[in-house]
Symmetry: C4
């Protein structure tokens, strides 16, 4: 008894799923289209290439944009809750992938923004049967999500710190023609220093400025421990808690290792 | 039976608490005053803006300072232990927020220090109902406090190390016109290198100097593990203790390990 | 009854093992040959030395290459599964150690690549009775292997991020003659910034560019926590498993948790 | 009954111990002598100060050196095992603290090396009743000692890596006048890049060189996780194992928290 599948359902299967041959083919084509169009945007920015292949880059750009536009509307057409898709993370990325090209008809230069379509690759990865990779990815995402509040407080704290440190350095080095021309630039310098990036485009020249800079560096060197500690503690917790969901039928103890066959508390055999 | 509330108590409620409408309003106004006055100080330092809006910045500064001064004295007036407040962390910040403006009447330029009032934001955060954030923050603070002795020893060790390394580099590179003009500057360079900031304003030019610099870099790259390890181990320890929500029915003690069957304080059996 | 050992077996014993006097001698000679030839390649690149000792460097190079070539074929001759050796990690290193010298007969300059033979030292280390070091090394390798999927996802994520960030900075700073001449260079700059290396050969000069750069630095400062967290959690897991030395008297399984009372493999009670 | 104490024993008490008033006084005097002499060496290197206070610096130097020399011989005289002291860590530091001044009579400039006496501060710290700090310090030292083999392997691996990477970059950038003048300098650059220091005194200018540099940066950004992971895992292990040594008299369970009064396994009261 053959079930009838509507056109909408078939489109959905091809576009959103990857377990039918046509769905897989669609994803592979999409993957290469993204790679090609991103490469085109990158290489177009190199003057030597742009002079030689200008038309080729332009055609590639527009062909990809048209294909992505059709795909975008097919996605909206075929999905049951189009509004939810449109405002989802991937829905926004999909829209941002096509907008820059159209905007470039009005404002020149904006088509470079089309490079954001490189983020679409995240969704396409599943074609390559890397579900294990995806589960690892969602594991990382969960650990980051769970520690987002601690990280937010840390970032706010660092933000307030660099404002104060930037103003202090502006007072110390301000009149010395050493690059600390105003407080925003000094704050920029404080961030460059605290994160241990250290370009050297601006650097203190007075003894007092160098002393304060040293203190900022040591602070930055020390507090990098904080986000690391947060994420590590979170990952370590998940690593221990998530690995096993077995529960002993006798004593109900549930903190078993992955290779446990018997309850380590009462010796009861575990259902594997 | 209506309880009579003295003026002092009412002022206290408005200024120190945030659970009445007027208390909340007070905090919101304070929050925006701080933001505006900090922005004024930052933008005033940019010459282009200062030329155009000089008077506006000056008036903003003085209005905010007068409001903060009144608030500071109201805080002292309304609190039961004014001395304890004055010498508390927030009391000092509150005072430092108003002093620079008055000092600028005597010494020019000091009003830039008023930027320290950005630290007042820490207290105002509670308005936005982020108590969960605050508890996470105090969790971070506790972990940092508990490991402060280890971090202090680490900082002292690093301090002695950079003094020796700076002197060694001064001996090696000193006469080469390569920026290592004296030991304080060489110590500054050693800190820049050890913390992996690496401005490049001073860098070794002799083969021996580059060799020693390489060793310093590898040391710095290695010992960054130490503060990270300290904070992480501390966070992981706390992280474990906090997960359990059991509470002893006898003595109400609640800081139990996950696999505890009996209260570790009074020996009462725990309901699992 | 003396067992007859074929020439092939004796060669194998000398070349591949280090528990006979001749095998040990072979490894020590090989160790010094590698050190000498690597030093020759390094010092030859310094013009002052090359002018003085050119012939000496050339002879050293060719003597070592001939010895290594003979050794390479003796390894293939004496081993039972030559194909497996040829395509193993060390087999490829051994081949790459001799190829550059022969290639330099055709293409000048390639003999510098012979420096890759420094990697052969990894195998020679066992001569110095540092088996404990090797077991620690394999412990590190295992932890890195177990977390390779997480690290791969992290690297892919960082890769996509720097592409987008590089393009954004190219748009912001592109026309300012500040070094962001095209997107590939901007991506290079984004990597330099995100990894907190910060050469300063290219650095933003516009306020907006400095703001975006600050955001990139803070991201880089924050996400360095991720690989650290991954490796630490993995090492901590292994570290925990190794601390317990209990062994089941029934099934001899020995990888028990610290608080285990019964063998998790067979249910036998453990002697605590 | 008064015990007779020999002069040697009394000298030992004053010099090596800090629990008698005279012993404490000795340590405090020593502490300030070290601080003063180190400051003298540092400030003498600053030309402006040296011109003004040259004689003062010279006298300070020699007075401190003579006092330290007397102290060094008193230590040797009063201790029971002088040879063991002489070759101990502190014995070597004590000797190195006085040698540079005497050497400066023969070779000029060496007296700057006297700055190494700043390391003597480590021993003097105990005066300030910071035994808790010292126990924390020895805890850190133990964790570093236990992971020294892993760290050694890591450093050797990084060392071989930078040699290969330096040679590769020399081949790519060598002829471009971009600073990669020879392999030693390229290895120096590779270390500067891998450790994320990034001076910028040498930086790649060819597209291929920038690509390889990007790869090196990402490797450096990733493998910093390894030493961090090693130290953290070690600290976490000690942190858990060392905290408490109580053992239940009833069930012999010994993994108790520091504030436990009753066994969490069987409810037995613990001997505190």
């Amino acid at each position: 008894m053959k079930e009838k599948i509507s056109l909408r359902e078939r489109v959905h299967e091809v576009i959103f799923e990857a377990d039918t041959p046509s769905g897989k083919l669609f994803d592979v084509v999409l993957f290469w289209l993204i790679i090609i169009s991103v490469l085109a945007v990158i290489l177009e920015s190199v003057k030597a290439y742009d002079r030689q292949f200008h038309l080729f880059f332009k055609y590639t750009e527009w062909i990809v944009t048209v294909v992505f536009t059709i795909e975008y509307f097919l996605r909206i057409y075929s999905i049951k809750k189009p509004v939810k898709y449109i405002f989802s993370f991937y829905g926004i990325i999909d829209l941002l992938s096509i907008l820059p090209a159209y905007l470039s008809l009005i404002f020149s230069g904006t088509h470079t923004l089309a490079i954001i379509r490189v983020l679409r690759l995240f969704r396409i990865f599943r074609v390559f049967k890397i579900t294990r990779y995806l589960s690892e990815g969602s594991y990382l995402k969960k650990a980051l999500m769970d520690s987002r509040r601690k990280i937010f407080i840390f970032v706010v704290g660092v933000g307030l710190l660099v404002i104060v440190l930037g103003a202090v350095m502006y007072l110390i080095e301000g009149g010395q023609d050493s690059g600390f021309v105003n407080i925003p630039v000094s704050i920029y310098w404080a961030i460059v220093t605290l994160t241990t990036v250290g370009y050297g485009d601006i650097s203190p020249t007075t003894p007092l400025g160098q002393f304060v800079a040293s203190v900022i560096m040591l602070i930055g060197y020390g507090i990098i421990a904080v986000p690391t500690g947060i994420v590590t503690a979170e990952l370590a917790k998940h690593g221990t808690l998530n690995t096993n969901t077995q529960s002993c039928s006798n004593c109900n103890f549930s903190d078993h290792a992955d290779d446990a066959k018997f309850c380590k508390r009462c010796g009861e055999s575990l259902n594997l």
